[in-house]
């Protein structure tokens, strides 16, 4: 039996929220000269986070001796953010393409709501199991 049924969706929600922030920054800077649009690969970041210890702060290793090595569990919570390759760069050095950013933003919001839905369903299922009635 899994210990934390929400772990995957909880870390997915976290990543979706930070991607939301990055994309909001892109949309906000659509008219800023020399701004370069940024994004990160959600699937890759989620895989990295899961391989680093399933959710980040569920299990933590204690360092009781000065010789103990730290485990890079927290490091994976910050996805590596890259720059988007523009298809039509502007003369002022800005690489934000508002329509692409808005599409990515919408996709990200839907992903967030999907994860939220899964968590809600899980909670409902657990509640039904606890109550023993439908």
């Amino acid at each position: 039996m899994k210990i934390d049924p929400f772990a995957n969706h909880a870390s997915a929600l976290k990543l979706r929220a930070s991607r939301n922030e990055v994309l909001a920054g892109n949309i906000a800077n659509a008219d800023t000269p020399n701004y370069k649009a940024r994004d990160f690969d959600f699937a890759e970041a989620l895989a990295a986070q899961q391989s680093a210890g399933g959710g980040g702060d569920t299990v933590r290793l204690l360092k009781t001796q000065p010789g103990h090595f730290g485990v890079a569990a927290g490091a994976a919570s910050n996805p590596t953010v890259g720059y988007r390759i523009p298809s039509q760069p502007a003369v002022d050095g800005n690489t934000v393409e508002t329509d692409i950013e808005q599409a990515a933003y919408a996709e990200n919001v839907v992903g967030y709501q999907a994860s939220l839905n899964f968590i809600n369903q899980k909670i409902r299922g657990l509640r039904t199991a606890i109550k023993g009635e439908i």
């Binding site: 929220a17 949309i27 906000a28 800077n29 659509a30 008219d31 953010v81 968590i119």
Partner: protein
């Protein structure tokens, strides 16, 4: 919580775009201003946007998102217009008046662009608000 930071980002963008709309309004209003002294003529004003925090700092920092900062407003250095109008009360000794260097077409384009960007930021803000509200009611449905 990083969703809350989106409000700051979108808010800064809206503030910057509304400053841009303000300069556009003032430019359009003064598009036909004239003066006898070329130093006193109205010159088109343009806002300068910058990303905040700047790229160099935000690359190392844990947050990759940046808002917009209004770095300043500059006056356009485009050449002024000159018109021969000896009957004008402001005319100089040669009978010339100087007209502002506002380009009405440019200002209209600026206005459209600013209002579209403002709308996008509002959309981002309301979507994020919806997400936050749904997150708050998690497990209640």
């Amino acid at each position: 919580m990083s969703l809350n930071r989106v409000f700051d980002i979108a808010g800064s963008a809206m503030a910057a775009q509304s400053a841009r709309l303000n300069t556009t309004a003032s430019n359009l209003a003064n598009a036909d201003s004239v003066s006898g002294d070329p130093n006193k003529v109205y010159r088109a004003r343009q806002p300068i946007f910058a990303a905040e925090p700047s790229f160099a700092t935000s690359l190392q920092a844990e947050s990759a998102s940046v808002g917009v900062r209004l770095r300043g407003i500059v006056e356009s250095q485009a050449p002024l217009g000159q018109r021969y109008a000896p009957e004008h009360p402001e005319a100089d000794e040669n009978g010339n008046v100087w007209t502002s260097n506002v380009s009405t077409v440019e200002e209209m384009v600026n206005m459209l662009s600013a209002s579209r960007s403002y709308q996008s930021s509002i959309e981002v803000m309301s979507t994020t608000k919806e997400l936050l509200m749904q997150t708050l009611s998690m497990g209640r449905s």
